[in-house]
Symmetry: C2
Subunit: 227 residues, 2 copies
């Protein structure tokens, strides 16, 4: 029986871990804040399922237990992030997040992910969910907005046994350069993270996620160890 | 290409269909209200997975397409509704829902179910989710309270592309006798519904669900066609 069995439930935190840079930074943030994280990674049919391998590597590097779920929702094929026959948007960096909700939006994805995280949190007595949403350098998804996170937290207060499960979104108001700097400061093994929506052998460099990542590293003046 | 492909998206409604009496009544209610329902049934490891067979029969009887999902969350074994080695509560009818949240509570279950329904609704352009929650003759689950439903609806307004997805819980303030009468009036084939938590060959008659159902039929003065 390791030390983890003795920790108080209140130290536990569920971390939604996609395998990307933002959620990895959340995982290390949770540890730095004194939490004992339990990571949750969900295969919902995303074309870059390769990110789940990153999630596994990151959880192992952090020493956090990882729950891997497969939640296949056939209707999500409406999204270009799920149906790999669809074209991924390739827009100039300055236009990302400014042309309405893009085709990569996955219907109610973060609502589903947060609800799964809430179920895990309530089951293990965790009072925190770490969620890597970002509302500054992002694609313009409605379920990354601060008001959504607060409203969901309110629903959890009413819809769980004891309430009081807080959603921590520490990256919500950071830009990508700030996230890179924070990740470096926290010691996140960024070489293990995966961002590209395409999920090929190497990052495509053209999708929103690749462009935002490249911008973050460039502006932070840090080389991307995953390139 | 049947008539369903021509219907307007606004007529579509997602119905969470467990296979019990309440959700079946919701399905027929949706039809009576002029909606074209899409049913959603989720196997989350409930010990009475037999109810999913009922959901299938009910959807077929109603002529509604059914999505069946398997969403296995290993941590749900904390609930006696999931771990069949646990004892189900057997309390007097008058005490049901009055002794705190019972062991059959499944952590954040309705949050997860509603989020899956929301994802389906957004994907097919439905603006209604029918949800058979009941806050009168029920076991005292927090995620059946009216305030929870409203808060979740608010989260959906903020966390989906267009917002405006409404959660209809037409049974929320009905007692079981009123639900039986409504079901009879709507022509719900109650013989196809399944309520018993135990999920054996015949209803156990001792769990909350069996007792509430029996009370409803007795007070409505209607014989239970499933007995």
């Amino acid at each position: 029986m390791g030390p983890k069995t003795h920790m108080s439930a209140s130290r536990r935190a569920v971390v939604l871990l996609s395998g990307g840079m933002d959620s990895a930074t959340c995982l290390w943030r949770a540890v730095a804040n004194g939490h004992a994280p339990v990571a949750l990674s969900v295969d919902y049919g995303q074309r870059h399922a390769r990110e789940i391998r990153s999630a596994r590597d990151l959880a192992a590097a952090c020493g956090a237990p990882l729950h891997e779920l497969s939640v296949r929702l056939p209707w999500l094929a409406v999204s270009s992030l799920v149906d790999s026959r669809k074209r991924l948007p390739d827009v100039p960096l300055a236009k990302i997040g400014r042309g309405g909700v893009p085709s990569t939006y996955v219907p109610a994805r973060n609502t589903v992910l947060l609800s799964l995280a809430a179920s895990l949190a309530e089951s293990v007595g965790a009072k925190r969910i770490f969620f890597g949403a970002n509302a500054l350098d992002y694609s313009g998804y409605p379920d990354c907005r601060p008001a959504f996170t607060r409203a969901f937290e309110r629903a959890l207060d009413l819809g769980t046994r004891e309430g009081g499960i807080k959603i921590e979104a520490p990256l919500l108001r950071l830009d990508k350069a700030q996230i890179v700097r924070l990740a470096v400061r926290l010691g996140v093994p960024l070489s293990l993270t995966w961002s590209c929506y395409k999920g090929g052998a190497v990052p495509c460099g053209r999708c929103d996620s690749c462009k935002l990542r490249a911008k973050g590293f460039a502006q932070a003046g840090v080389p991307d160890p995953a390139r």
